[in-house]
Each structure stands twice: as C-alpha cells, then as structure tokens.
C-alpha cells in the first residue's frame, strides 16, 4: 500500500465515521457539526481526485454557507435542548432500516462486479490542467452555458421562495 492509498484509507474512515455520527447524534447541533466535518473530509478526497474546483466549492458553499444556514435554523428554532426520547421504532422505520442496509449490500455487490472500461479517458486532457478552475470555467461558459443560466434562475427562484415561505405574514 502506497501513500495515496493510505491517505485515502484514512480520509475514508474519517468520512464514514462522521457520517455515522450525523445520523446517530441525539442533539441536532452535534449532527450539524458532524456534517461539517464530513464535508471537509470529502473536500480532501475530492482534492485527491484532482477535482480542485469542486473541492474548494465544497468547502465554500456546502460547509460554509449551507451548514451555516442549518445552524442558524437550529438555533432559531431553539432545538438545541430537544433531545427526543426514543420510543419503540415504528414498523416503517424498521422496514426502511432493513431496506437501507440491503441496498448497501446490493450496491457493494454491484460495485465489486463492475470492471473498469478498457481504454479509460478518451479525452486525454492534460493532467496538469485537469480539474482546475480554468478547465471547469472554460467548459461552464461555453458548452454548458444553458444549464448554468438555468441554475442561476433556479437560485433566484429559491431565494424568493425561501423568503416568501418563511415570512409569518406576507
């Protein structure tokens, strides 16, 4: 096992651990903080995947903006002290849990059978420029301009919608 694999192993373990903490923590604040940690570890993994732009955006947008929003809402609703007493799990929760575990098993089986395609990477882009902002930006503003504009429209709508929904009185 060489260095990248070792690094990946560590990062992966940490990611999974904090992800489990997200869903297992009693206090929602703990969940949120674990989620931030998960995002940061994931950003590192993205960097290892040479997806530099996305790694940065992950930290900026996800960990920086979205999670802040979550924390604001948690604090706004004063949920910090709400520790839910855990009654017996309902039937649908058991079914869901079993289904999730089974899906995991199935996906693992599927992935293990998957073989890499021969002749990987038709577009032999230079590894130096792969995943950089110039590369991503270049594609974004030329070939993928329409989705870009659509997403910006979506964000506008989301902004307006969030304000309207959250107001007590219009």
């Amino acid at each position: 096992m060489n260095a990248p694999q070792l690094i990946f192993a560590g990062l992966a373990f940490a990611t999974v651990f904090s992800a489990v903490l997200v869903i297992a923590a009693r206090n929602p604040i703990n969940s949120a903080m674990s989620l931030v940690a998960t995002f940061l570890f994931l950003a590192a993994i993205y960097a290892q995947l040479l997806a530099h732009t996305i790694a940065v955006l992950q930290v900026l947008v996800y960990a920086g903006a979205i999670m802040v929003l979550f924390l604001f809402v948690i604090m706004l609703l004063s949920l910090t002290h709400l520790g839910e007493p855990t009654p017996r799990p309902a039937f649908h929760q058991v079914v869901g849990g079993v289904a999730a575990v089974a899906v995991l098993a199935g996906l693992v089986m599927a992935i293990l059978r998957w073989h890499a395609m021969a002749g990987a990477g038709r577009a032999r882009e230079s590894l130096l420029r792969f995943g950089t902002l110039e590369q991503v930006g270049g594609l974004l503003y030329t070939r993928w301009l329409l989705p870009f504009e659509a997403v910006s429209l979506l964000l506008l709508v989301a902004m307006v919608g969030a304000v309207v929904v959250a107001k007590p009185r219009i």
């Binding site: 309902a90 649908h92 869901g96 289904a99 999730a100 199935g106 998957w114």
Partner: protein, 739 residues
C-alpha cells in the same frame, strides 16, 4: 268484331311493371293515414281512405291481371337464364342487401299465379273492408282496425308479388304480425290477447323452419352455381349455365324464384346425361359438402312444409286458428279464411319446380294435408260456437289444398284456394251478420229459425254451405273433387301407397265436412227459435253488410266454370279445365320437370265423371246423416240422459282432443320453467349478484384494505420508496450485471 280488345293489355305493360309497387304502397299509405290521423279524421273519412286504397289496389290488380292473362306480347327477360318469358310483368327496384355472394332484391313479379292471388286478395279484401265499415260502426277503435287491416293488405300483397323468397318472407312476417294485432284487437279482455300471442308464437315456430329452409337453399344453390365445370349439366347448358351462375351468386341472388326454377331445370338434364343424376350427387363445396342434393332438397322442403303448416294451420301447428276466432269476424273472414292462411299453399306452389324433385317431401305434404283435413273435420263435429265450426272447416279445407299440392296437382290446389276464399269468406261474413243481428250470440244451439228473420243471410250461408260440402253445381264441388280425382290418378314414384291412402282419407273428410256443415246450418238457421236465445227476434243486417255476402255467394257459384272438366282440350287431346289452362304457363314447367325427373306420373284417367258421382253420393250421405240426427233423432231424445260412451266421446272432442293441454305440458311448461330457471339462477343469481355486485364488493373490500397504506407519515412513504429501490438494485445485480 275487333277481338284485339281481349288480346291487348288495357294498360301499357311497361308502365304497369314499373308501377307494381303502387299495389303494395296504396294500402300501406292507407294504413299510415288511418293509424296516425285516424282519430282526428273521424269515422267517415277513415272508412273512405281504407276502402279507397284497397279499391285502387284492386283496380291496378285488374289491369295487371288482364295484361298478364290476355296479351301474348307481354314479355320480360328472365334474369336467371337470359331467356324471354311471356305473360309476366316484373319490376326490380335494386338491391336490398348484399353479403358476399348472396343478394336480395326488391323485386315484384306478376305471372298467372300471382295474378290469381292478386285478384283474390284485393277483391275479397275490398269486400271485407266494405263489410267492416258497417260491422265496426259502434266500435271506438275503428281507426286502429282499419290501419291494421290495410297494413295486412300491404303485407299480403308483398307476399304475393315478391319475386324472391326473402321479400316473400317479409310479407310472411308482416301478415303474421297483423294477424296478431287483429286477433288481439279487443285486447282489454286478456283472453283475446293470449289468443293473439298464441297465434304469433305458433307462426314463429313455422317462421323459424322457413328461415332454416331458406338458408339451406342458399347454400345448395350457390354450391351448385360454383360447382366444378366437369359436372354433366355444365356441358348440357353451357351458355345458360354461365348466366345462371352469375344470377345465383350476384344478381339477382340465389333465392329469386326464376333462379330456383332454372336450378330445377338442371336436375332432369343431369339424368339425361346418364350419370346418377344431380339428386344423387354430393354437394361439392360449402358447409353442406358431403350431403347429396336430393337429401338436402327433401330436408329443405320438409322445413318449408313446417313453415307453411304454421301459417296455414296444418298439423301440428294448427292450434292457433280456433283461438283466433276471438278477433272480429271480418278479420276471421279475411285473414283466417281467404288470404293469410293460403300463404302456405302459395309458397309451396311457387316452389313447385323444385318441390317435384323430392317425392319424399311431396308425399309428406299430401299425407299431412289429408290427415289434417280429416282431423279438423272430426273436431268440428262437436263445436257449438259457429265461428269455431268455421275455423275447423278452414283447417280442413286447407288440408285439401295441401293434399293437392302434395300429389302434384297444383292447379287444383289453387282452384280450391280461390273457391274456398269465396265460400269461406261468405260463411264467415254470414256468421258476422248473424252475430250482428242476434246481439253477439254465436252458439248454434241457442239460435234457430233465422231463415224467416234473416233471409238474405240465410240464403248466402246456405249457398256457401252447399258449395263447401261439394254439391253440384257449385264451385266447391268441382274444386274439391278435382283434387280428389287428381289424387287418385297421379302417381308419385316410390310412394305409390300414398295415393289411395290420401284419397280414402280425403273422401272420409268430405263426408265429415258435409255432416258438420249441415249440422251447423240446420241448428242455426232452420227449426224453431231456441228457448234460451238472447234476442227473441233477429233482424237482418243493412245492405252494406249483405252486399258482400251476395257477391261472394254469387262467385261461389260462378267459379264452377273454372273447374268444369272438359271445357278445353290440351294439344295432346286430353280435356282440361279453364283453371288448368290458365295456370299452365306457371305449372307447366313443374309438370314437365316432374315427368323428366321421374318423380311423378301425370294423370292417366281422363274421365272424371264416375269419381264425381261417387263424391256427390258421399256428400249427400253426410248431409242426410246430419239431417236425420238433428231433425229426428235428437229432438226425439230430448230430455233423456246421454249414454256414457257418447258423452265421453263428445267431451273428448269438445276439448279438441286435449291437444292444447298436451302442447302446454310438453312444450310450453318446460320452456317456461327453463326461462324461470335461467332468470332466477343465471340472470338474478349469477350475473346480477355474483358478477356485477360481486365485482363491486371485491373492489370496495380491496379499497378499504389499501386505505391503510395512507399513514400520513412521510417516512413510511420514503420507506416504500427504499424498498422499491432495493428491488431495482436487486434487478440490476441479478439480471444485468450477472450476465
């Protein structure tokens, strides 16, 4: 003297041909007017419209008759074989419907046979319409009556004028319908309605057989028309055969009477070629393949006989006619004496060229006719209701006509049909007059001494009675005894035992006819007034009712000329009657074919007078027996108890030999039980409860079970989605990735 007046048609034959439909349309229009506007028009106008439409039809029929009878230049081209035909008018108004190689046309055809029937139907019909105007003058439903009567005329004329079996069947059904409507005319009394229903159902059984016969006939004729050309007849009539094949499979259709006649021509021709003949050949193609033509023709004609038996009240479907006397008397006179019940005889005569090809069927027809004649006569012995006596008499006389047809004596049957229409019509109308004058009383035991009070009616009834019993010199004698004479002297090959048998039965029937008719006359019209009569003195009816009686009675006498033997001579030197000569263009074909096909040998005895003398003697015997019994024996025994044997026989006869009860137990009751069973079990139980209600119940139950899936909990729905995803993942692994 310019005799061209007799040999030229009075009206342009082409114009007549094109306008034949008017003969049917005028009464139909009258029916429409009387039915729809009758109540508003009032009695006078309804009478006028009804009688005028029939009178107009009568005049048109007279012109058609004259054109066809007198003018040898009236020629039409037969669509069946392309040959010219004399003495016929024909009109065709296009295709009615077409299905594959079958087509039926609106076609009308007047030849000597149709012309005779036309005169009978329209003439007697008009007289009865006239009579009805007086008979129904106090009835509130008069407009309905005339509407139905006119509709009946239109249907009967369709039947008579049709040039193919399908259109004939339309008229056939139409007269059945009108019979039902008219029998149940006073429907407020349930018994009348049931009588109408019984008539309709009995007719329906016959109609079903008729339809089956038509279908078999279509299959047979089209199979022959398309048969492989190696058949012997093909060589014989090559060009004609091509025209026939076209006629039978596209225009004008396989059920056209001329096409059927042409088909019949090929049968003796096939014998002439030395093979076993068409009758013994198997039908080559179609659903009937494997059966011989001969067997199929026999089956077809037995079915047609059943159909005719339904309409003409023969065994076993005669049961409706006595009950049909519940209708008004003019209806009985028109429908159940003169016209509708003769439709069966007309049908068999129309099919004569083919009928003679099946000696088995002819024998059956003759035997059925003879048995019916005797049977009905015996039933008439014990009837006290005057109209019932006449009803059984009608059945009996129709039996004679069937007898005539069955022995190949077609012109005799038609002659008897015509004379019977006259004297039976006269008898029924007289009965109506008696009813009119005696406040509705019809029981002959409660009448009597009408001779003094109703002289005209008595005279007409008397003349008609003499005609029906066969007393010289009235027409009935000649027609009935011509039939019996012909029965004895023609030979059905293969069935020689039939001739003497039917002659014996027919003669017995003649004796019985004389007996019961004399009984009716003696009890009702002579003697003293019965003590329990409704009205002490009867009054004679007005001239509107008496005039038709007189006319019909006169015709009963005059028509003897048509049956008088020896008036004319055939080219071969044999004497023949006027009627025979008149109908020769129609039945000559059948006779010739019968001889060529070796199924019938014509009459060899040329002197009819010895037979006539015997017949006359039999009639006198019957009449004298009646006179003796009812004038001497019974009055002398009045007040004494009747011996048990005679009482039992009389009771058995009065109850019509319990045939109605038999039919009820064997046919009606099981069908009713079956219907009730099907209704209760299948319709109510199975379909309504189980299938329809059950479907609803199951759906409702499933719905209320599935309801529980709506928990309102989003996580539950998400759990279901997760399960679905699991299924998808499983599919991906096992079906896609595993391969």
């Amino acid at each position: 003297m310019d005799t061209s007046w007799f040999t030229k048609a009075w009206a342009n034959p082409q114009a007549l041909s094109d306008n034949l439909w008017l003969i049917i349309a005028l009464p139909a229009f009258g029916a429409l007017v009387c039915g729809v506007f009758g109540r508003a028009l009032g009695r006078t106008y309804v009478n006028l419209v009804a009688c005028a439409s029939v009178l107009a039809s009568f005049f048109l029929s007279v012109f058609a008759f004259q054109a066809v009878a007198a003018d040898p230049s009236v020629i039409v081209t037969s669509a069946a074989n392309g040959q010219p035909l004399r003495f016929a008018l024909s009109g065709d108004w296009g295709v009615w419907f077409q299905a594959g190689s079958f087509s039926a046309h609106f076609g009308l055809w007047v030849d000597h046979l149709s012309a005779t029937m036309l005169m009978v139907v329209t003439g007697v019909g008009f007289l009865i319409h006239l009579y009805s105007t007086a008979y129904m003058e106090h009835d509130p439903g008069y407009w309905r009556f005339f509407a139905y009567l006119n509709l009946f005329m239109a249907s009967m004329l369709t039947l008579v004028l049709a040039d193919n079996l399908v259109l004939l069947f339309v008229g056939w059904e139409g007269v059945g319908l009108c019979s039902y409507l008219l029998i149940g005319f006073w429907y407020t009394d349930a018994a009348n309605a049931w009588a109408g229903r019984k008539a309709f159902i009995a007719n329906r059984v016959g109609d079903c057989a008729f339809l089956l016969a038509m279908m078999l006939l279509v299959l047979t004729v089209t199979a022959f028309a398309r048969a492989p050309s190696a058949e012997p007849p093909a060589i014989f009539f090559a060009q004609r055969r091509a025209v026939f094949a076209h006629a039978a499979t596209s225009e004008p259709g396989p059920l056209n009477f001329k096409v059927l006649e042409e088909f019949a021509q090929y049968i003796p021709a096939s014998l002439a070629m030395g093979s076993k003949g068409l009758l013994g050949t198997d039908i080559p193609i179609g659903p009937l393949a494997g059966h011989t033509y001969g067997h199929t023709l026999t089956v077809i004609f037995l079915l047609l006989l059943l159909g005719a038996a339904g309409k003409s009240a023969q065994l076993p479907l005669y049961v409706w006619l006595p009950d049909a006397m519940a209708g008004p008397t003019p209806v009985s006179a028109l429908i159940h004496a003169a016209t509708m019940v003769t439709a069966g005889v007309y049908l068999l005569c129309r099919m004569a060229p083919l009928l003679v090809m099946s000696p088995a069927a002819m024998a059956t027809v003759a035997v059925v006719g003879a048995l019916t004649a005797l049977y009905a006569a015996l039933l008439a012995f014990a009837q006290d209701d005057l109209k019932k006596v006449l009803a059984y008499s009608t059945i009996s006389q129709l039996g004679y006509m069937f007898l005539g047809v069955g022995v190949g004596f077609f012109w005799g049957a038609i002659l008897h049909l015509v004379t019977h229409a006259c004297f039976k019509g006269c008898l029924f109308l007289s009965a109506g007059s008696v009813m009119h004058g005696n406040d509705g009383e019809l029981n002959i035991k409660k009448l009597g001494c009408l001779r003094k009070e109703m002289p005209w009616t008595t005279a007409c009834f008397g003349i008609a009675t003499l005609a029906i019993t066969g007393i010289v010199p009235l027409s009935g004698f000649f027609s009935k005894d011509d039939i019996l004479h012909g029965a004895l002297h023609t030979h059905l090959l293969g069935y020689e035992w039939v001739m003497p048998t039917v002659f014996a039965i027919g003669s017995l029937g003649a004796v019985a006819t004389a007996f019961y008719m004399s009984r009716a006359y003696l009890l009702a019209f002579t003697g003293e007034r019965a003590k329990d009569a409704k009205v002490p003195h009867a009054h004679e009816s007005g001239w509107v009712m008496v005039a038709p009686l007189v006319i019909l009675a006169a015709l009963s006498i005059v028509l003897l000329l048509h049956g008088f033997p020896g008036v004319l001579k055939t080219p071969a030197g044999q004497p023949e009657t006027l009627m025979e000569a008149f109908l020769k263009p129609v039945f000559g074909v059948a006779d010739k074919l019968a001889v060529e096909a070796h199924s019938l040998e014509p009459e060899t005895e040329s002197n009819p007078w010895p037979g006539f003398v015997i017949a006359l003697a039999l009639a006198w015997v019957g009449g004298a027996a009646a006179w003796y019994l009812y004038k001497r024996v019974f009055p002398a025994r009045a007040g004494k108890p009747v011996p048990a044997v005679f009482a039992a026989v009389r009771s058995f006869t009065v109850h019509k030999f319990y045939v109605d009860e038999l039919y009820d137990a064997v046919l009606v009751r099981p069908i009713k039980l079956l219907s009730i069973g099907l209704f209760r079990v299948v319709d109510e139980g199975l379909i309504d409860t189980v299938l329809v209600g059950g479907t609803g119940w199951v759906t409702a139950r499933i719905g209320s079970l599935l309801r529980y899936l709506q928990t309102g909990d989003v996580q539950a729905y998400a759990a279901m989605m997760a399960v679905g995803l699991l299924a998808g993942v499983g599919y991906a692994i096992f079906e896609v990735l595993a391969k």
